[in-house]
């Protein structure tokens, strides 16, 4: 094979080799290998000469020596009718020329000529390693600028230098009012109060802004606001996706509250990261307080989800894409995916108790005892229920006669059962034939004797049917090794290996079965069926005493039983964590080589060292939280930037790979990342770096020249408006302004109702039934990590402002607040309303509009304030 290929090489092999290795191979690797190696799209492989000459589904792709006739060249020139490659964007003219030259030379592919990328290679080329985000973080010196007067902080130098280089001028800074409203909503998710606004306006000292930022960062509401950004990434939910309603994650809120505290206490970010991957591996001193962080992993559905979300969130890498094939764009071999998957497969969910071992034990013992009594009670009642069926069925003929005579009660018969018979017989459309002769008889004018005979026949049938049903049940127990006569509810449920014939089953169900209610079909309880709650009147003597005693015991324990002890949703290592096989093409049934548990190859120098301790989660956490990791700090400072500027410096905040965006200000990103590490990974330090800059203070107004040159504002010549506050800030602002906001911190989630006035952070998040109002205002789907929130507007949002009872109630509350705080004077009230809502006084025209509006009488104040709530000025931030 190799010999053949060598022979096939043209004479100028030596030069061709250099040409190929330096020009062509990198070109193919960057542009073609993603789809035309292992996954061979279009049945074409471009990673060997043989593969290239063989061609693909469309036929021969390269005619050696003849570029004009080669499909490959037509495709990259984009002159072919259908094939235009690469699909993500055309090559440069220079690159096309290189490929043409290569084909002209006869497609040389030197020596080894083996496919470049094996299915699970771990070799990563120097070129791949040279990608910007894998480079060590540098500490660039803030550049010199022309307009020194504009500079407030080092951040400004990076921003202005780029603007000046393009000959652009930033717009003026925003007013003090705008700045305070912006920064307060950014940091707290709540608007500034009129008093805060006045104080800031009155403060002419140079430190006025610093004081504000310090005040806001010290507010406990800051953690509530910034935790929510993190929870979007962590796909936080109070329950797990399930068939009907979420399976509750009853203690998920403890993780949420821990995130709030982490932001408020400025927990060093590297520690924040470690806690969420491997708190259980940290030194025992202080470990307890970091354990809730493991909720990040426990909220994941599967180990696959844990790999995917952890790498996206902490590293900005889409490692999940390497589950079935080597990553199409980034140097993440499939094997690396399974190295990390092995780490998470070596861990399992663990309910970490927050009380002493003895308390756990005491609770479990009591609970066990209660369960045992309830089981005895249920077993006994189920048995009684069957006996009642047996008992009643022996009078079947009499019941039929009673119905025939239209008696509502009769000596010796159960009145309720007569009624049920009447109802049952009234519906003539039966799924079985066993009452056909009865109905036939009824259709004529039968004698009592005839009816009696028919009733007797039917009773005989019923008794035999019930006997047969019992035999079926016995057979099912025996089939599963049970002894005839020894039955318990636990084994019965899943041991129906034989069943009654279908039609007999229908009749049995209508006589003896409990209410039948599966999704597709509902049936009432059988005529003779009385469930545990309806049985009491049939119980007497010893049986009644027995049931009463069990009930009393159960009640006593229940009263004594505390609610289940608090615990954390965490993960812990399995007893024997092990390396796992690569699943070829993502298929578990096709195991490939073993993938040692270790860190991502591209982030290690040379071969990655296998993890040594347990599952390896501890070492994984260290590798991610390491100062040497080029991604971790960059990714986080970018997220902080994103929430202050509406866009990250890298505009794909969870993808710092090949297909992600490139940083608009690479030096600025590195400057912030190195400041982040220097400050001891202090998130608050980065807020300060950013918020005190001129760049952050810019107005959001437009400028024709700048708009023309940079329509997407990548160079930050103005502030990006937030066209609509996110759902939490929106609702919380309404409550804050109306004065109704319940500022209690933490605790279990509660549903979004009209009466619920807690901050939106504390509303129940569901994966199965996302609250309709939350969804309406772009709350993310908690089944996946959300790196940003799109903002949409539609008529249903309008209806919320116009018609929802919540907004109406808040407007009413605000009306009362205005009366309290501004007295009876209409103008004063309107002024107060503007101060509370918009952080500014109304102008004369606005005052006039308001005065005229509320002059009409009726509930005009409520209508007026509701309109103010729904206005663009209230719902956006400029």
């Amino acid at each position: 094979m190799r010999l053949l290929l060598l022979l096939a090489l043209p004479l100028a092999a030596q030069d061709d080799g250099v040409f190929f290795e330096s020009k062509i191979r990198p070109l193919l690797a960057t542009n073609c290998f993603a789809c035309h190696t292992g996954s061979a799209l279009g049945d074409l492989r471009l990673d060997s000469r043989a593969g290239i000459l063989k061609g693909g589904k469309t036929g021969v792709v390269v005619v050696a020596g003849k570029p004009e006739e080669s499909l490959l060249i037509q495709a990259v020139r984009r002159t072919h009718v259908r094939l235009k490659m690469p699909p993500v964007g055309a090559l440069t003219q220079q690159e096309i020329a290189l490929l043409e030259e290569w084909v002209r030379r006869g497609v040389p592919w030197p020596e080894a000529a083996l496919p470049t990328i094996a299915a699970t290679t771990t070799k990563i080329s120097a070129e791949q390693r040279s990608f910007w985000s894998f480079q060590p973080v540098t500490n660039p010196t803030p550049p010199k600028v022309k307009n020194e007067a504009w500079i407030r902080t080092p951040v400004d130098r990076f921003v202005l230098a780029r603007l000046e280089a393009k000959g652009l001028k930033p717009v003026p800074v925003a007013s003090k009012r705008t700045w305070l409203r912006r920064v307060t909503l950014d940091l707290l998710g709540l608007p500034p109060t009129p008093e805060e606004m006045d104080a800031f306006l009155a403060d002419a000292t140079p430190k006025a802004q610093t004081k504000v930022v310090d005040r806001l960062l010290a507010s406990p509401h800051y953690g509530e606001r910034w935790a929510r950004h993190w929870l979007d990434l962590a796909r936080y939910s109070d329950g797990e996706l399930a068939a009907g309603v979420d399976t509750p994650l009853a203690n998920a809120w403890r993780y949420r509250d821990w995130v709030v505290d982490a932001f408020n206490n400025d927990l060093p970010y590297n520690q924040f990261v470690r806690a969420q991957i491997a708190a259980d591996f940290l030194p025992s001193a202080g470990r307890e307080s970091l354990m809730p962080g493991l909720g990040f992993q426990a909220l994941g559905r599967t180990a696959d989800d844990q790999v995917d979300v952890s790498t996206k969130v902490f590293l900005g890498l889409t490692v999940g894409c390497a589950q079935c094939h080597d990553h199409k764009y980034d140097p993440i071999p499939t094997k690396d995916y399974y190295s990390l998957l092995g780490v998470f497969r070596g861990s399992k969910d663990f309910e970490f108790p927050l009380v002493s071992e003895s308390e756990v034990k005491a609770y479990r013992e009591k609970k066990k005892k209660l369960d045992a009594i309830n089981e005895m009670l249920n077993d006994f009642l189920a048995e009684q229920s069957k006996q009642v069926v047996d008992h009643l069925s022996r009078d079947t003929a009499q019941y039929l006669m009673a119905v025939w005579k239209n008696a509502s009660a009769q000596e010796g018969l159960d009145t309720e059962t007569i009624g049920k018979w009447k109802t049952y017989l009234n519906v003539r459309d039966k799924d079985h034939p066993y009452l056909k002769s009865w109905y036939d008889l009824m259709a004529g004018n039968p004698t009592e004797e005839q009816v009696r005979a028919e009733a007797a026949r039917y009773q005989q049938f019923v008794l035999e049917l019930l006997e047969e049903a019992k035999e079926v049940e016995d057979k099912n127990y025996v089939a599963f090794g049970g002894k005839k006569g020894i039955k318990d509810e636990k084994t019965r449920q899943y041991t129906n290996i034989v069943a009654l014939p279908v039609l007999k089953f229908y009749q049995w169900r209508e006589l003896a079965n409990g209410p039948y209610n599966i999704d597709g079909f509902r049936a009432p309880a059988g005529v003779y069926y009385y469930g545990p709650k309806e049985l009491d009147r049939y119980l007497g003597g010893v049986a009644k005493q027995y049931v009463d005693r069990l009930r009393a015991e159960a009640n006593a324990i229940e009263k004594d039983l505390p609610p289940m002890y608090p615990f954390l949703h965490t993960v812990s290592d399995t007893p024997k964590p092990a390396d796992i096989h690569v699943a070829l093409r993502g298929d578990n049934k096709s195991p490939g080589e073993i993938a040692p548990r270790r860190f991502l190859s591209v982030l290690c120098e040379g071969e990655a060292t296998p993890f040594q301790k347990g599952s390896g989660r501890g070492e994984l956490a260290e590798a991610i939280a390491s100062q040497a990791n080029p991604l971790t700090a960059r990714v986080m400072v970018n997220r902080i930037w994103q929430h202050h500027f509406g866009q990250g410096i890298v505009r794909s905040p969870s993808n710092f790979g090949q297909m992600g965006e490139r940083p608009t200000h690479p030096e600025l990103l590195d400057y912030l990342a190195s400041r982040f590490v220097e400050s001891g990974w202090s998130v608050k330090a980065i807020h300060r770096e950013i918020l005190l800059s001129s760049a952050y203070a810019l107005s959001s107004q437009s400028n024709e020249a700048n708009l023309e040159a940079d329509p997407d504002n990548k160079l930050l010549w103005r502030h990006n408006m937030q066209y609509r506050l996110d759902m939490e800030a929106l609702r919380d602002s309404v409550l804050a302004v109306s004065g109704q906001l319940d500022r209690k911190f933490g605790g279990p989630a509660s549903a979004m109702t009209e009466a619920n006035a807690r901050r939106s952070l504390y509303l129940t998040v569901s994966r199965t039934r996302l609250d309709a109002t939350m969804a309406l205002f772009d709350f993310p789907d908690a089944n996946a990590s959300a790196e940003e929130r799109p903002v949409t507007a539609g008529p249903l949002q309008g209806l919320y402002w116009l018609n929802s009872k919540f907004v109406a109630a808040q407007a009413k509350a605000l009306e009362q607040r205005l009366a309290r705080e501004a007295g009876t004077d209409t103008e004063k009230r309107i002024q107060r309303a503007y101060q509370l809502m918009y952080g500014r006084p109304p102008d004369a025209e606005e005052l006039k509009l308001g005065v005229e509006y509320v002059a009409a009488g009726g509930n005009v104040w409520q209508q007026y304030l509701q309109a103010l709530f729904g206005s663009g000025e209230f719902t956006s931030v400029n």
Binding site: T318, A499, G520, Q701, P790, L799, L802, Y853
Partner: protein, 458 residues
């Protein structure tokens, strides 16, 4: 000054799909603007009637005489793994009849569809990857077995926008919730304007169907006055912001469309406005009333309507396949009525109707011990049936085939991805080019799969 005219011109321009998303995310685009697809579309609307739980194909639209012959015997050949233990082959309790001019065979439990079979294409060779409801529902609705991807309706609305900005683009009807609930109509990583608006249609009164549809306190006149105030406030604000803030303008405009929605939806969602004669054909079940609402919504320009037959998974008849006849009785008539009325209102050709489930049911009896009554069938992902009608689909066609017993699709196999590709094709899209950039990757409804099923196109 704010340049309203410039803004409206931007809106009116219409955009091809190239760079659509970029436009959405940059300045001047309203994500619901009606848009031209890649090529001339056959269909403009989609109605997806979802028989959740798994309709048995061998009892409805895929007749298998071999099941009659081999009733009660093991399926020949190597032992096949099903989700749960399966027993012997079980014949369908119902007869199949040749229907229409085409002679396509339909079970007697769907007599009305049978009469109209020449309008339907019966794909008998559907298959999917997984036999659990969860992942299968995700694949059928969102094209991927893991939750969190945008649903079909989100893709359709993203691609085409809406014809009626006073109404949502994508509406989902169910008396309550199907299994997995809102994750089946999510917009995933797309803007939430594309998500399905879930309407619990057990009620009939419009204001019980749509959240906040009515203001209990204000008269329409008062509300108009309130809106006029709001409009003035908003324009003052826009003036203050300066020119070129089109997205802000678009955000405040939602108030005006909300007001129009109140009026329009009040009528639209009130099926009592239909003549008694029309209503009677639908008014036999929640599903039926849903069909009538779907008709009215499509008529008003809603892009996609999906109706879940019922809460949970009604068609999941593990115990007793006979339940299928009760379900069919509540489904057959309304579907027929929907087809008839779409035709009479001139909407049939431009509306693609899909009828199907997340998977089919086994030709074998289920025998796993889970069920009390041994008369049902288990999940069957390797072979099942979906019906299509309208929207440029060939009628009177039975396409593809399962094996002799109905277990596995063998001829002209159609994967769920292919169904999605075909749906998008009828709407005018090349499914490989309708992409959404998220987290640095271009995502598609069909992931990296899907072929248009050319054989069923009219």
């Amino acid at each position: 000054m704010f340049d309203r005219r410039q803004f409206l011109q931007n809106l009116g321009g219409g955009f091809g799909l190239v760079g659509l998303q970029g436009l959405l995310q940059s300045a001047a685009q309203d994500p619901m603007t009606p848009r031209q697809p890649h090529f001339a579309a056959k269909a403009k609307h989609v109605i997806f009637l979802f028989l959740n739980g798994g309709m048995s194909h061998v009892d409805t639209f895929d007749p298998k005489p071999a099941l009659i012959k081999n009733n009660g015997t093991p399926m020949p050949g190597p032992k096949i793994r099903t989700d749960r233990a399966s027993g012997n082959l079980m014949r369908s309790p119902w007869e199949f009849r040749h229907c229409g001019k085409s002679g396509v065979e339909v079970s007697e439990i769907f007599p009305e569809i049978g009469k109209r079979i020449d309008d339907f294409c019966v794909i008998r060779s559907m298959w999917t990857d997984i036999g659990n409801h969860g992942p299968s529902l995700q694949i059928m609705n969102c094209g991927h077995q893991l939750p969190g991807r945008p649903s079909m309706g989100a893709w359709v609305t993203y691609g085409l926008g809406t014809e009626n900005r006073n109404l949502p683009g994508f509406v989902v009807l169910c008396p309550g919730f199907p299994v997995l609930g809102s994750s089946l109509w999510t917009a995933g990583y797309m803007p939430s304007i594309y998500q399905g608006v879930h309407i619990q249609n057990a009620a009939v009164e419009p204001d019980k169907l749509i959240q906040n549809l009515r203001n209990g306190e204000l008269s329409p006149a008062e509300q108009k006055k309130q809106l006029s105030l709001l409009d003035q406030l908003n324009h003052r604000y826009l003036d203050r912001l300066g020119p070129r803030q089109p997205q802000m303008e678009s955000a405040v405009r939602s108030m005006e469309s909300a007001f129009r929605l109140q009026t329009e939806a009040g009528d639209l969602f009130d099926i009592r406005k239909e003549p008694e004669k029309v209503r009677a054909r639908y008014d036999i079940s929640d599903f039926g009333r849903g069909c009538l609402l779907a008709l009215r919504m499509v008529e008003s320009g809603v892009r996609m309507v999906q109706i879940y037959y019922g809460n949970g998974q009604p068609w999941d008849n593990h115990d007793d396949i006979m339940v299928h006849s009760k379900l069919a009785a509540k489904t057959d008539g309304p579907i027929a009525a929907l087809v008839d009325d779409l035709k009479s209102r001139g909407l049939f050709d431009e509306t693609l109707i899909l009828i199907g489930s997340e998977f089919g049911r086994t030709p074998m009896i289920q025998n796993s011990g889970l069920e009390k009554l041994g008369n049902g069938r288990d999940h069957n992902p390797p072979g099942f049936t979906v019906l299509l009608a309208g929207g440029g689909i060939k009628g009177g066609l039975a396409y593809g085939a399962t094996d002799e017993f109905g277990f596995k699709a063998v001829e002209n196999k159609v994967h769920v991805h292919d169904l999605h590709a075909t749906m998008l094709h009828q709407l005018g899209f090349d499914h490989t080019k309708l992409t959404y950039r998220h987290a640095g990757r271009d995502f598609r409804l069909t992931d990296v799969h899907g072929e248009v099923v050319k054989g069923i196109l009219a």
